[in-house]
Symmetry: C2
Subunit: 174 residues, 2 copies
Protein backbone atom coordinates (compact mmCIF):
# COMPACT_ATOMS: atom_id res chain seq x y z
CA UNK A 1 0.00 0.00 0.00
CA UNK A 2 2.04 2.89 -1.27
CA UNK A 3 -0.10 4.96 -3.64
CA UNK A 4 -1.19 8.22 -2.02
CA UNK A 5 -4.91 7.91 -2.81
CA UNK A 6 -5.07 4.44 -1.40
CA UNK A 7 -3.24 5.57 1.71
CA UNK A 8 -5.78 8.31 2.37
CA UNK A 9 -8.67 5.91 2.10
CA UNK A 10 -6.88 3.56 4.47
CA UNK A 11 -6.37 6.42 6.92
CA UNK A 12 -10.04 7.38 6.84
CA UNK A 13 -11.11 3.82 7.53
CA UNK A 14 -8.64 3.40 10.37
CA UNK A 15 -9.71 6.68 11.93
CA UNK A 16 -13.35 5.69 11.71
CA UNK A 17 -12.66 2.46 13.55
CA UNK A 18 -10.35 4.00 16.12
CA UNK A 19 -12.80 4.81 18.91
CA UNK A 20 -14.23 1.30 18.79
CA UNK A 21 -10.77 -0.23 18.95
CA UNK A 22 -9.84 1.91 21.93
CA UNK A 23 -12.92 0.80 23.79
CA UNK A 24 -12.21 -2.80 22.82
CA UNK A 25 -8.81 -2.35 24.43
CA UNK A 26 -10.42 -0.84 27.53
CA UNK A 27 -9.01 2.62 26.90
CA UNK A 28 -10.96 5.87 27.14
CA UNK A 29 -11.23 7.80 23.88
CA UNK A 30 -9.74 11.21 24.55
CA UNK A 31 -9.48 14.17 22.19
CA UNK A 32 -5.70 14.01 22.52
CA UNK A 33 -5.58 10.38 21.44
CA UNK A 34 -7.81 11.10 18.50
CA UNK A 35 -5.61 13.95 17.35
CA UNK A 36 -2.47 11.89 17.72
CA UNK A 37 -3.68 8.91 15.71
CA UNK A 38 -5.10 11.33 13.18
CA UNK A 39 -1.76 13.09 12.76
CA UNK A 40 0.05 9.77 12.52
CA UNK A 41 -2.36 8.43 9.92
CA UNK A 42 -2.08 11.65 7.94
CA UNK A 43 1.69 11.37 7.66
CA UNK A 44 3.67 9.16 5.34
CA UNK A 45 6.97 10.37 6.78
CA UNK A 46 7.26 7.90 9.66
CA UNK A 47 7.40 10.82 12.04
CA UNK A 48 9.15 11.22 15.37
CA UNK A 49 7.22 11.98 18.54
CA UNK A 50 8.45 15.55 18.23
CA UNK A 51 6.87 15.95 14.81
CA UNK A 52 3.53 14.54 15.92
CA UNK A 53 3.74 16.89 18.88
CA UNK A 54 4.13 19.83 16.50
CA UNK A 55 1.09 18.80 14.49
CA UNK A 56 -1.16 18.04 17.43
CA UNK A 57 -0.26 21.30 19.11
CA UNK A 58 -2.06 23.14 16.33
CA UNK A 59 -5.29 21.58 17.61
CA UNK A 60 -4.45 21.21 21.31
CA UNK A 61 -2.04 24.01 22.14
CA UNK A 62 -1.80 22.82 25.76
CA UNK A 63 -0.95 19.19 25.07
CA UNK A 64 2.13 17.91 26.84
CA UNK A 65 5.05 16.29 25.03
CA UNK A 66 4.88 13.50 27.58
CA UNK A 67 1.34 12.74 26.46
CA UNK A 68 2.51 12.39 22.88
CA UNK A 69 5.27 9.98 23.84
CA UNK A 70 2.96 8.00 26.09
CA UNK A 71 0.18 7.86 23.55
CA UNK A 72 2.41 6.74 20.70
CA UNK A 73 3.65 3.88 22.85
CA UNK A 74 0.08 3.07 23.78
CA UNK A 75 -0.94 3.01 20.13
CA UNK A 76 1.85 0.54 19.46
CA UNK A 77 0.75 -1.58 22.39
CA UNK A 78 -2.84 -1.89 21.19
CA UNK A 79 -1.72 -2.45 17.62
CA UNK A 80 -2.85 0.85 16.13
CA UNK A 81 0.68 1.83 15.17
CA UNK A 82 4.16 0.36 15.04
CA UNK A 83 7.61 1.57 15.79
CA UNK A 84 9.75 1.57 12.66
CA UNK A 85 12.93 1.71 14.70
CA UNK A 86 12.77 -1.75 16.14
CA UNK A 87 14.87 -2.48 19.19
CA UNK A 88 15.43 1.14 19.74
CA UNK A 89 17.30 1.61 22.99
CA UNK A 90 21.05 1.75 23.34
CA UNK A 91 23.37 1.03 20.42
CA UNK A 92 24.62 -2.52 19.96
CA UNK A 93 27.91 -3.31 18.25
CA UNK A 94 29.23 -6.33 16.39
CA UNK A 95 32.80 -7.07 15.33
CA UNK A 96 31.62 -9.96 13.16
CA UNK A 97 31.79 -8.58 9.65
CA UNK A 98 30.81 -11.77 7.85
CA UNK A 99 27.39 -11.56 6.20
CA UNK A 100 24.79 -12.71 8.66
CA UNK A 101 21.49 -11.72 10.20
CA UNK A 102 20.20 -11.39 13.74
CA UNK A 103 17.46 -12.79 15.92
CA UNK A 104 16.60 -10.58 18.80
CA UNK A 105 14.55 -11.41 21.85
CA UNK A 106 11.77 -8.86 22.19
CA UNK A 107 11.75 -9.35 25.94
CA UNK A 108 15.36 -9.29 27.10
CA UNK A 109 17.03 -7.92 23.96
CA UNK A 110 19.44 -10.80 23.64
CA UNK A 111 20.81 -10.86 20.10
CA UNK A 112 22.04 -13.96 18.34
CA UNK A 113 23.52 -14.46 14.89
CA UNK A 114 21.56 -16.42 12.33
CA UNK A 115 22.13 -17.33 8.75
CA UNK A 116 19.15 -17.55 6.45
CA UNK A 117 20.46 -19.51 3.55
CA UNK A 118 18.53 -18.13 0.63
CA UNK A 119 18.08 -14.56 1.70
CA UNK A 120 21.21 -13.17 0.10
CA UNK A 121 20.43 -14.54 -3.31
CA UNK A 122 16.87 -13.27 -3.28
CA UNK A 123 17.77 -9.81 -2.09
CA UNK A 124 20.57 -9.30 -4.54
CA UNK A 125 17.91 -8.76 -7.16
CA UNK A 126 17.20 -5.15 -7.68
CA UNK A 127 14.19 -3.47 -6.16
CA UNK A 128 12.34 -0.48 -7.49
CA UNK A 129 13.60 2.40 -5.39
CA UNK A 130 12.16 5.49 -7.03
CA UNK A 131 15.24 7.60 -6.57
CA UNK A 132 17.04 5.99 -3.66
CA UNK A 133 20.50 4.54 -4.30
CA UNK A 134 20.80 1.26 -2.36
CA UNK A 135 23.81 0.88 -0.06
CA UNK A 136 22.98 -2.15 2.01
CA UNK A 137 20.25 -3.88 3.87
CA UNK A 138 19.33 -5.33 7.22
CA UNK A 139 17.19 -8.30 8.08
CA UNK A 140 16.22 -8.97 11.63
CA UNK A 141 14.01 -11.59 13.18
CA UNK A 142 12.06 -10.68 16.29
CA UNK A 143 11.55 -13.59 18.63
CA UNK A 144 11.29 -14.80 22.19
CA UNK A 145 14.38 -16.52 23.58
CA UNK A 146 14.23 -19.74 25.56
CA UNK A 147 14.62 -18.06 28.92
CA UNK A 148 11.92 -15.53 28.21
CA UNK A 149 9.55 -18.18 26.90
CA UNK A 150 9.85 -19.94 30.23
CA UNK A 151 9.49 -16.72 32.16
CA UNK A 152 6.42 -15.63 30.17
CA UNK A 153 4.68 -18.95 30.70
CA UNK A 154 5.22 -19.01 34.44
CA UNK A 155 4.61 -15.37 35.25
CA UNK A 156 2.17 -13.89 32.73
CA UNK A 157 2.60 -10.40 34.17
CA UNK A 158 4.91 -8.60 31.77
CA UNK A 159 7.68 -6.49 33.22
CA UNK A 160 7.65 -2.74 32.71
CA UNK A 161 10.92 -2.53 30.78
CA UNK A 162 9.80 -5.14 28.29
CA UNK A 163 6.53 -3.40 27.55
CA UNK A 164 8.04 0.03 27.44
CA UNK A 165 10.76 -0.72 24.98
CA UNK A 166 9.23 -3.34 22.75
CA UNK A 167 8.94 -2.34 19.12
CA UNK A 168 6.59 -3.84 16.62
CA UNK A 169 8.02 -6.03 13.89
CA UNK A 170 7.19 -5.21 10.30
CA UNK A 171 5.61 -8.61 9.83
CA UNK A 172 3.98 -10.78 12.39
CA UNK A 173 3.52 -14.50 12.66
CA UNK A 174 -0.17 -15.50 12.94
Amino acid sequence: MIAEGERQKYARERLAAFAARCRAAGLPVTPQRLSIIEALLASSAHPRAEEIYGQVRLIHPHISAATVHRTLETLCRIGEARKVTVLHDSARYDANLTPHQHVVCVECRRIRDIEIAEIDRVLERKVALSGFRPLGWTFELQALCEDCQRRCESGPARRKAALRARAEPTHRKN
Copy 2:
Protein backbone atom coordinates in the same frame (compact mmCIF):
# COMPACT_ATOMS: atom_id res chain seq x y z
CA MET B 1 29.96 -17.93 10.85
CA ILE B 2 28.19 -19.04 13.97
CA ALA B 3 30.09 -21.98 15.46
CA GLU B 4 32.04 -20.94 18.55
CA GLY B 5 35.37 -22.43 17.52
CA GLU B 6 35.23 -20.77 14.16
CA ARG B 7 34.37 -17.47 15.76
CA GLN B 8 37.41 -17.62 18.03
CA LYS B 9 39.70 -18.26 15.10
CA TYR B 10 38.10 -15.34 13.27
CA ALA B 11 38.64 -13.12 16.31
CA ARG B 12 42.32 -14.07 16.55
CA GLU B 13 42.89 -13.27 12.91
CA ARG B 14 41.05 -9.97 13.12
CA LEU B 15 42.98 -8.98 16.22
CA ALA B 16 46.28 -9.84 14.56
CA ALA B 17 45.46 -7.61 11.62
CA PHE B 18 44.05 -4.78 13.71
CA ALA B 19 47.17 -2.66 14.18
CA ALA B 20 47.91 -2.74 10.47
CA ARG B 21 44.37 -1.74 9.63
CA CYS B 22 44.51 1.17 12.04
CA ARG B 23 47.70 2.42 10.48
CA ALA B 24 46.19 1.98 7.04
CA ALA B 25 43.36 4.21 8.17
CA GLY B 26 45.84 6.73 9.53
CA LEU B 27 44.93 6.12 13.16
CA PRO B 28 47.41 5.62 15.98
CA VAL B 29 47.25 2.24 17.68
CA THR B 30 46.57 2.89 21.32
CA PRO B 31 46.29 0.38 24.17
CA GLN B 32 42.71 1.53 24.72
CA ARG B 33 41.75 0.82 21.14
CA LEU B 34 43.37 -2.56 21.28
CA SER B 35 41.49 -3.47 24.43
CA ILE B 36 38.20 -2.27 23.00
CA ILE B 37 38.41 -4.21 19.74
CA GLU B 38 39.64 -7.22 21.71
CA ALA B 39 36.64 -7.07 24.04
CA LEU B 40 34.28 -6.63 21.12
CA LEU B 41 35.81 -9.54 19.21
CA ALA B 42 35.67 -11.71 22.31
CA SER B 43 31.95 -11.17 22.74
CA SER B 44 29.18 -12.83 20.81
CA ALA B 45 26.52 -10.85 22.68
CA HIS B 46 26.44 -7.76 20.47
CA PRO B 47 27.34 -5.67 23.49
CA ARG B 48 26.44 -2.10 24.36
CA ALA B 49 29.11 0.52 24.91
CA GLU B 50 28.47 0.15 28.63
CA GLU B 51 29.31 -3.55 28.55
CA ILE B 52 32.51 -3.01 26.62
CA TYR B 53 33.37 -0.30 29.13
CA GLY B 54 32.95 -2.81 31.94
CA GLN B 55 35.27 -5.30 30.27
CA VAL B 56 37.94 -2.83 29.27
CA ARG B 57 38.00 -1.29 32.71
CA LEU B 58 39.42 -4.53 34.06
CA ILE B 59 42.54 -3.81 32.00
CA HIS B 60 42.50 -0.01 31.97
CA PRO B 61 40.83 1.06 35.20
CA HIS B 62 41.18 4.74 34.26
CA ILE B 63 39.59 4.56 30.82
CA SER B 64 36.82 7.05 30.22
CA ALA B 65 33.36 6.04 29.08
CA ALA B 66 33.60 8.73 26.44
CA THR B 67 36.62 6.97 24.97
CA VAL B 68 34.64 3.75 24.67
CA HIS B 69 31.77 5.48 22.88
CA ARG B 70 34.15 7.36 20.61
CA THR B 71 36.24 4.32 19.82
CA LEU B 72 33.27 2.10 19.00
CA GLU B 73 32.07 4.72 16.54
CA THR B 74 35.57 4.96 15.12
CA LEU B 75 35.73 1.19 14.68
CA CYS B 76 32.47 1.34 12.75
CA ARG B 77 33.80 4.17 10.62
CA ILE B 78 36.94 2.28 9.58
CA GLY B 79 34.99 -0.92 9.04
CA GLU B 80 36.31 -2.90 12.00
CA ALA B 81 32.88 -3.19 13.58
CA ARG B 82 29.28 -2.45 12.80
CA LYS B 83 26.31 -1.14 14.67
CA VAL B 84 23.58 -3.73 14.89
CA THR B 85 20.98 -1.14 15.80
CA VAL B 86 20.70 0.62 12.50
CA LEU B 87 19.02 4.02 12.43
CA HIS B 88 19.44 4.37 16.10
CA ASP B 89 18.42 7.85 17.05
CA SER B 90 14.91 8.91 17.92
CA ALA B 91 11.98 6.54 17.58
CA ARG B 92 9.96 6.61 14.36
CA TYR B 93 6.32 5.58 14.20
CA ASP B 94 4.07 4.27 11.46
CA ALA B 95 0.31 3.91 11.45
CA ASN B 96 0.44 1.86 8.26
CA LEU B 97 -0.12 -1.69 9.44
CA THR B 98 -0.16 -3.31 6.03
CA PRO B 99 2.84 -5.57 5.38
CA HIS B 100 5.60 -3.51 3.86
CA GLN B 101 9.27 -2.68 4.21
CA HIS B 102 11.28 0.52 4.47
CA VAL B 103 14.08 2.29 2.65
CA VAL B 104 15.90 4.75 4.81
CA CYS B 105 18.30 7.42 3.73
CA VAL B 106 21.54 7.02 5.66
CA GLU B 107 22.20 10.75 5.40
CA CYS B 108 18.96 12.52 6.24
CA ARG B 109 17.02 9.63 7.75
CA ARG B 110 14.07 10.02 5.43
CA ILE B 111 12.04 6.81 5.46
CA ARG B 112 9.91 5.60 2.59
CA ASP B 113 7.72 2.54 2.21
CA ILE B 114 8.71 -0.15 -0.25
CA GLU B 115 7.29 -3.49 -1.18
CA ILE B 116 9.64 -6.28 -2.11
CA ALA B 117 7.41 -8.79 -3.74
CA GLU B 118 9.37 -11.97 -3.19
CA ILE B 119 10.50 -11.45 0.35
CA ASP B 120 7.37 -12.73 2.03
CA ARG B 121 7.40 -16.00 0.20
CA VAL B 122 11.06 -16.66 0.91
CA LEU B 123 10.79 -15.92 4.58
CA GLU B 124 7.81 -18.11 5.18
CA ARG B 125 10.22 -21.00 5.16
CA LYS B 126 11.42 -21.88 8.60
CA VAL B 127 14.84 -21.00 9.90
CA ALA B 128 16.85 -22.77 12.54
CA LEU B 129 16.53 -20.66 15.65
CA SER B 130 17.94 -22.90 18.37
CA GLY B 131 15.42 -22.01 20.99
CA PHE B 132 14.03 -18.69 19.83
CA ARG B 133 10.33 -18.57 19.02
CA PRO B 134 9.82 -16.33 15.97
CA LEU B 135 7.32 -13.50 16.29
CA GLY B 136 7.97 -11.35 13.27
CA TRP B 137 10.67 -9.84 11.16
CA THR B 138 11.95 -6.61 9.77
CA PHE B 139 13.64 -5.85 6.50
CA GLU B 140 15.16 -2.48 5.86
CA LEU B 141 17.08 -1.11 2.96
CA GLN B 142 19.76 1.49 3.62
CA ALA B 143 20.14 3.95 0.79
CA LEU B 144 20.86 7.49 -0.24
CA CYS B 145 17.84 9.55 -1.22
CA GLU B 146 17.74 11.75 -4.30
CA ASP B 147 18.34 14.97 -2.40
CA CYS B 148 21.31 13.55 -0.51
CA GLN B 149 22.83 12.07 -3.65
CA ARG B 150 22.85 15.56 -5.10
CA ARG B 151 24.17 17.08 -1.91
CA CYS B 152 26.94 14.49 -1.56
CA GLU B 153 28.10 15.04 -5.10
CA SER B 154 28.29 18.81 -4.83
CA GLY B 155 29.69 19.12 -1.32
CA PRO B 156 31.84 16.08 -0.50
CA ALA B 157 32.33 17.23 3.09
CA ARG B 158 29.97 15.09 5.14
CA ARG B 159 28.00 16.81 7.84
CA LYS B 160 28.67 15.93 11.46
CA ALA B 161 25.23 14.57 12.25
CA ALA B 162 25.29 12.19 9.34
CA LEU B 163 28.63 10.71 10.28
CA ARG B 164 27.87 10.53 13.93
CA ALA B 165 24.61 8.69 13.67
CA ARG B 166 25.09 6.49 10.65
CA ALA B 167 24.83 2.82 11.34
CA GLU B 168 26.35 0.06 9.30
CA PRO B 169 24.03 -2.15 7.28
CA THR B 170 24.28 -5.89 7.71
CA HIS B 171 25.07 -6.29 4.04
CA ARG B 172 26.75 -3.85 1.75
CA LYS B 173 26.61 -3.28 -1.94
CA ASN B 174 30.04 -3.58 -3.61
